[in-house]
């Protein structure tokens, strides 16, 4: 009964239990460019629906052209950071903008480092 009450209390507070294996906790982003990228991603997520709908009106052969021009102006008026094209897939650990493998979100140098220390499960040096 008391254990159930404690469990409920824990769940309500949503606190993480101190687990036996220590995990690295990062409280800062690696650099400002990474922070800006994060902001752009958030904005793109917020405005994604609107952009989709306005683009559906624009890329159309049915609706009158005047309507489409108005839609053009509207989408240009949205904040610049809300477009997904401005997002750059940076390395998650080093914020390197180039040489990033998409599957791991890591730059090639970091990926190589972890793979050589056997910390990437299932990744092996190629040999054939």
């Amino acid at each position: 009964m008391a254990a159930a009450a404690l469990c409920w209390a824990l769940r309500a507070a949503r606190q993480v239990l101190p687990s036996p294996c220590p995990r690295q906790v990062r409280s800062y982003y690696v650099d400002w460019r990474m922070l800006r990228d994060v902001k752009r991603r958030k904005m793109a997520y917020e405005h994604a629906d609107e952009r989709l709908r306005i683009n559906a009106i624009r890329k159309n052969s049915i609706l009158p052209r005047e309507l489409q021009e108005v839609a053009d102006k509207e989408i240009a008026a949205l904040p610049r950071d809300s477009c997904p094209v401005r997002i750059r897939n940076r390395c998650v650990l080093t914020s390197r903008p180039r040489g990033v493998k998409r599957r791991w979100r890591l730059s090639r140098i970091v990926l190589r480092h972890f793979a050589d220390h056997a910390q990437m499960p299932g990744v092996q040096r190629a040999m054939w």
């Binding site: 824990l10 009106i57 009158p64 309507l67």
Partner: protein, 326 residues
Amino acid sequence: KDKSAASKDSTPEGASKRREDGAETPKQQLLDIIGNMKVEVSYRKKLQQLKASESKKQALNKLEGADSEGSMFQAAAEDTQRGKPLNPELVKAASAVASSFPRNKKQTESELLAQLRRHEETTDKQKKGGTVNIRQVISEMTVKRQTPAQRSARISGRISLQLDEDGQRIRPERSSAQSVDSRRSLKVGKRLNIFTKASAEPEHALKTVSSPTIWDLEFAKEVAAVTAQPPRNGFEEMIQWTKEGILWEFPIDNEVGMEDGAEFHEHIFLEKHLEGFPKEGPIRHFMELVICGLSKNPYLTVKQKVEHIEWFQKYFDEKKELLQEI
């Protein structure tokens, strides 16, 4: 015993007809009844028999050790239990069976009728999806005593890798012991309901507590940290991962997290949301295309689709003056 098992699909009506042959001894009568029982064709009786067969098995297990005339009693019990709804027939059959016994006729008759009543209750409960009494389940479980040989075999088995792709036992010594165990555990006992969906525990008793204080939280964290032992084996590790959310719950539910209670027709037939639009013209054409696309989209919920359409409605309403110029 085989004869009585084979003559399961039969009715007591044959029994009542044959009972009037008073010339033979009661025992001979009953044997005749069993031997001459007809195969019943109607489906209703078969259903009843199927339901009664479960109760029958329980009755058989109970009756097995009880009497010296074991086979006779079983046959008689089957005979009496088969026609569950036909009560006057049952009473007549019970009296006939009881009269065949050399001793305590009234007692056996009353026992038979009492058993019938009990079996009626159990089959009714099973029909309704009877409750699982944990006490009964636990009382059926017994503590197993291992011989030292078995214990050593088990320990050595634990050390060596037990996983075998074929699923067959590596050692023949283990197989005999474990087949006995599996025989006991597979065929005996009630459902434990392990693989049903975990229902949320009723927390009505705890809701009286207002928000827990920081000290309560700290105490709870301390207790959890002390009692959380590292997992002893792979099963406990998997349990811990399931609790943390790393591992999915088995059997895998494809709709975890997606609580869309809408039926398929709400996803596909979206034309009723098109009422705010003009009936003809390019806008209607455009919206019909939009709806066609939405109906094929399995990833959005109905609410999201409706919001999509409403956004367009609002947009075109705002642009109304512009549209009138055109």
